[in-house]
Symmetry: C3
Subunit: 125 residues, 3 copies
């Protein structure tokens, strides 16, 4: 039950934004072993004046930059997280076609007891 | 000083969204012992194309799904978090009337020294 | 590579919102030693009905309240975080001129291995 918040510049076509969702879901299926239908994601579209980025770490970013914040269980290994990052960049590169320079991902971790995916229960505690 | 970010589909009436705020605040008062006026919450409304969810974990969700991300002190017990989840689903079920299947909650934890609620001070460090 | 999500009431002029970005970037340069160009920030503007706050902890807040959530490495000291809070309030007070009562900051921590700032790599693992 990763929860994803995706931020990008406003104005991309519907198909482009759906491809972002699809690629992120597939990347999680491939590397985090999430079950079918385990996709909970929002996209926030920002005007240029509400979206600020820089070129730190020697990476020349452009307006297509996508900021992805993923909250997951605190049970993933370093290798799993590295695989997730690789797969996300790979899949977003294919569809909708985002340059690898423009894929920024941050993972936040939350214990199993910190999730309720319905019915007011802590299903994984 | 929980900080809450709530994501849902766009188009709900004002009273509906105010009821979400009210119920979440009451749930925190009841289960986390937060003081009066300790409510810091935003709602982000998303078009269908910017809001993706699935039916993982055997729960049939609908477009009324509410994704609630709550950042709190890292001092809460498992029992407190479970009580919070229960109370949130219960109160949102009463007002504005959200099905328990459509209440998704994630808790993120931050140390006391990680909060400044005004004046540039770390009031709880 | 702090990642910042800033929430405020809708309607502030462009220059005001740019000043928020500038002051936050400068505060991070001053207190967290982030490199040049290390700014990744979004602003979400909310209607009154989607922005709820209270006066907890004896602070009389107004509609100019800015809720700032900063995700950083989990390597910062308590002193660094306190300095960050002070500097943010100081700089936002100067430009765009926000009352210190209206500056709310929460820091979330993520391990170095939890970041990919481009190319699908975990640059800091």
């Amino acid at each position: 039950m990763p929860l994803l918040h995706i931020s990008l510049r406003a104005g991309k076509p519907v198909a482009y934004r759906q491809a972002i969702f699809d690629s992120l879901y597939l990347a999680m299926r491939d590397t985090l072993d999430v079950p079918e239908g385990d996709q909970f994601m929002t996209i926030s579209e920002h005007d240029a004046t509400n979206f600020r980025y820089g070129n730190a770490f020697g990476i020349m970013r452009r307006d297509d930059l996508v900021l992805i914040q993923i909250t997951v269980f605190n049970t993933r290994t370093t290798a799993q997280k590295a695989a997730l990052f690789r797969r996300i960049a790979e899949l977003l590169g294919k569809s909708p076609g985002i340059r690898p320079e423009d894929v920024f991902v941050n993972v936040i971790e939350a214990a199993k007891e910190n999730w309720s995916v319905g019915h007011g229960l802590a299903q994984f505690a």
